[in-house]
Symmetry: C2
Subunit: 593 residues, 2 copies
């Protein structure tokens, strides 16, 4: 088996760290409990391990191909997607009244993690479809919802997000695609979109493109962008497919990784105009896009955790199998390389990062559930701002770490890691997109500095620090060496984070360039400390439950301790860099590079 | 132009930091001075920029191919190699009496850097040939030298190093290839070697393989390995090529990067035995191999610096050209992304690492020159131990950083970085081998912990720290903010390094696994601090010379300051990890992963 879903850790995190029982006590989520969660996760694992994971290497070796404006996906992908749809997996998080399963995000999240770990390329299709569904549900008319949402939720059709244009990467203000209103209330859409994930493929009958474009007379910049639904095939009132719409895939990209996932250049309206339907109101497209984006950003964070875990599992397997050199403590002959201290260090580094990031992400998923379902409005609002703070951290930090962890995975393999056949290199290539799409790390970092820290003068950030401080108090009450080491490291980390928040709040207005030059390191610092916080909590709980499962909980304690010993110390360095290097960066004139 | 040799920085480092005038005052090197160095570098730049650099992308798109036991290299490589040979570049560092140019290593090193930056794949062929020449010169008989060395030095033939076998990656004790003595004094060699760089190609008339194998009755392990010269074509006494030898390339690898460089599986002796000649004495092969290895390890460190610099240059170019989003301080429309603070931070990070690592490597090259040429035996010996300490740092640290810097290069490109067409991704793929071949980072780290620190109880390591402390005193005498910041950061770094040396020396015997679990971080710590030391020296000199070239020296001061602000603070985190995480790593039993 090339991927083994870490159900034990997933369920531990859900139950003990993310508060599954609190989530399933929320109004509307009472149908779920630990047993249903476990059953769902086991089913998901069966599908992801058995059907999708084996396709991952195939997808890399035989990527999607383009011919005559059509894309053929990797052999096996179409069949796997049919099984995915049949199993109801596309609907996991969507409303039951439209055929979805309505699971809490906390239960949907480990399912998503497994799918991403099984194949980043494959999982992108459902991920983008989720975004399209979300936008439709939030902003679409009843008519649009009725016609399109259920078919997307069932997995019969798939969805895309069309933002980027050749002249405008992350800068949506520069969007030029246009939509002309027609007499029947529809629009004709014209323009070129690039980097469209699964913009064309053969895995479903129809593709529902959500496209940003400008209506005539719209204001300049991001305030003049509207959102349109443009189907690949026209859909009759009875739901049957009609004529081909004027939207064509003119090429797909030759990419470093995630090669099975077709990245399309889409041409809208070259033959008279693509029929599109306005989603929500004119000029509010950016707002709707951000709804999709928040979901997608969290999902990309999960991709980071997923690919890091898969790289970890592969490295562990190799390290057990590969025999080389004697043991440092003496041995008759060569031993499995997992005995060598540096191999263990690399594997523990990977493990600690995966477990820490998983814990923070699941915790955030529970926060999102509370934001949607809590009965008290203040509780809802509190959870919503917490979640919004955490999303860029999870997106940015989990993906940045995933690149490093995939690289360590290659390193564990030695020379074999550089040979494509081994598969370790694929994770290193695949992971490299994660810090770029759905908003680069810098964009996440600008979000956390600007909208999430400066706007409220650090209130939410400090509230999270206060929660970390409570965990420190708990650790102080535990009289053992591991908790003492964790307490010390976590406190240093939290103080470094507070120091950085103060610096950002103090200087954000007067010296924005100085502050924003430290934005990515601020994001990383938040990630290091908040994941460390979860590892601190995990350490105490694992110590209490040690006797019930010494292997699992013993490993958890050691992994958490390693996080304290080797990861949390980076917090001070990041904080220093945030406070010192911004002004230096400013001094470097652009022609000095 | 895709690569611009940074002659100004190279000459600055040679003259001001590495002490070029001291090197050219050494006995036997008096023919050289600054002007000859400059002239050589300019010629080298012309060749590397104009002839080799344009082939780099071709090599990636059209890698070497294998058919019928023969390898065809990328179109253009053969012609470029002929020009390389014609220009005398293969002989740069080799003795004049054999047709070489006999340059000091300090002058040869920037030439090598340029060639690696122009194309890692291309430069590997000369690099391996250098290793073969070195081994021949040190250990080969006069007859072997006469027959083979001059043709290698002229670039007419090329050389390889054959260490690795399928069952034994880095573990040379497991070498199984065997060599049977023949009546005429030659040997018949049998065995399979893998990962042989340029083990077969069409760029030269003959290939001289240096092969590790065992003679009958040789001791077990590394003490029973001998070194053999096995030519692809037999060579007559008059130097003419004769029959094809029994050494065949049975396949080449499909690799993540450096695709133009053929990585061969070589089969020796499947058709009766490959004729080989003993180099030096039986059972001393490992010793000779280490001579080649030391040169090759330094060279791979240069590859790291080179590819990081090329990735930097490409990122700077892209950041100037790519327009996107308004300036943070306000602008009418989108600006070049180099104006955005995080892009500047990424570029400065790359620049600071490249300049720091270059300075340390050139300094080490000068140390090697003094070790070879100083008239005083004690001075020679002192420089030799210093150089031997620095080689694993340069190999390990420069290559580890090169992966991170190439990754940042991709990030600067955003989505375009993930498209292979842009070329940024190639550096990310190419760089990934550098921490693996010629000894993984862990092997470098074990070397620096075991042979270079524990053996002399940290004497050489502490002597380097004492030199850093002298630079701190110099900085303290400079009354300005940049020097004050550098002084503080460098002192913290040096103290962190000393603390780690003490920890290693104190625990190396009693708790070796604990100590070796921190070996890679010790290597990185040494790299961070010693490169920072050079940047501290550079800062003071640049301040003094500021008026003579404000753009260059101004950038140097800011880059050095950035190193102090953003890179040196990592030293404390590395030191903590070294001292804390080893014991935790030990506690993790191998079946807990």
């Amino acid at each position: 088996m090339t991927y083994h879903a870490p159900l034990k850790d997933m369920l531990f995190v859900m139950q003990e760290l993310a508060g599954l029982s609190k989530v399933t006590a929320l109004p509307g989520l009472e149908d779920y409990d630990f047993d249903t969660a476990q059953a769902v996760l086991e089913e998901s694992a069966k599908f992801c391990e058995g059907v999708v994971a084996p396709l991952n290497r195939d997808g890399d070796k035989n990527p999607s191909t383009w011919q005559d404006r059509a894309v053929t996906t990797t052999p096996g992908f179409k069949e796997a997607f049919a099984q995915f749809a049949e199993g109801g997996w596309q609907g996991v998080i969507h409303p039951t009244e439209l055929g979805g399963q309505g699971f809490p995000k906390l239960i949907a999240t480990p399912c998503a993690e497994m799918l991403h770990a099984a194949s980043l390329s494959f999982a992108l299709c459902p991920m983008l479809t989720d975004g399209a569904i979300e936008a439709l549900l939030v902003a679409g008319s009843e008519e649009l919802k009725a016609k399109f949402a259920a078919k997307l939720i069932s997995g019969q059709w798939t969805g895309t997000m069309n933002l980027t244009e050749p002249q405008a990467g992350s800068d949506l203000a520069a969007v030029r695609s246009r939509a002309e209103p027609q007499a029947d209330g529809s629009y004709k859409v014209f323009g070129t979109k690039i980097f469209i994930t699964y913009g064309e493929h053969d895995m479903a009958e129809n593709i529902v493109h959500l496209v940003l474009a400008r209506v005539p007379g719209a204001p300049e910049g991001v305030k003049g962008i509207s959102l349109f639904l443009v189907p690949k095939f026209m859909v009759g009132d009875d739901g049957t497919l009609g004529a081909r719409n004027d939207t064509w895939c003119v090429s797909i990209e030759h990419k470093l990784g995630i090669k099975a996932s077709p990245t399309a250049v889409l041409q809208f309206g070259d033959h008279g105009g693509a029929v599109g339907y306005l989603v929500g109101q004119e000029n509010r497209g950016l707002e709707y896009m951000f709804i999709m984006m928040n979901a997608a950003r969290f999902a990309v964070g999960m991709q980071g955790i997923a690919v890091a875990d898969r790289a970890y599992q592969q490295a562990v397997r190799f390290a057990h199998e590969r025999t080389q050199s004697r043991d440092l403590a003496g041995s008759d002959g060569p031993v499995a390389i997992i005995h060598h201290p540096d191999v263990k260090r690399m594997l523990l580094t990977m493990r600690a990062h995966v477990e820490g990031a998983r814990a923070l992400a699941y915790m955030a998923a529970a926060t999102s559930d509370a934001a949607h379902h809590a009965s008290d409005a203040a509780v809802k609002a509190h959870n919503q701002v917490m979640y919004e703070f955490l999303v860029p951290v999870i997106k940015g930090f989990s993906t940045e770490m995933s690149i490093e962890m995939a690289s360590l995975g290659v390193q564990v393999h030695g020379g074999m890691g550089f040979i494509e056949e081994t598969g370790a290199a694929q994770h290193y290539r695949d992971a490299r997109i994660l810090t770029i799409y759905e908003g680069t790390t810098a964009i996440q970092a600008n979000d956390i500095v600007g909208r999430k820290t400066l706007r409220d003068k650090g209130a939410v950030a400090k509230a999270l620090c206060a929660q970390v401080a409570i965990t420190e108090q708990d650790l102080a009450a535990h009289d053992n060496e591991d908790c003492a080491a964790m307490l010390n490291a976590l406190r240093q980390g939290r103080l470094a984070l507070e120091e950085s928040i103060d610096f950002i709040v103090a200087n954000g207005k007067t010296a924005p360039k100085t502050v924003y030059a430290g934005a990515v390191n601020y994001l990383k610092l938040a990630g290091v400390v908040l994941c460390g916080w979860q590892m601190g909590r995990a350490m105490m709980i694992a110590q209490e439950q040690l006797d019930s499962d010494p292997a699992f909980f013993g490993a958890k304690v050691i992994t958490a301790r390693f996080y304290a010993d080797a990861v949390l110390p980076q917090a001070a360095a990041l904080s220093q860099s945030i406070r010192q290097a911004g002004e230096t960066t400013n001094r470097m004139a652009i022609d000095m590079f």
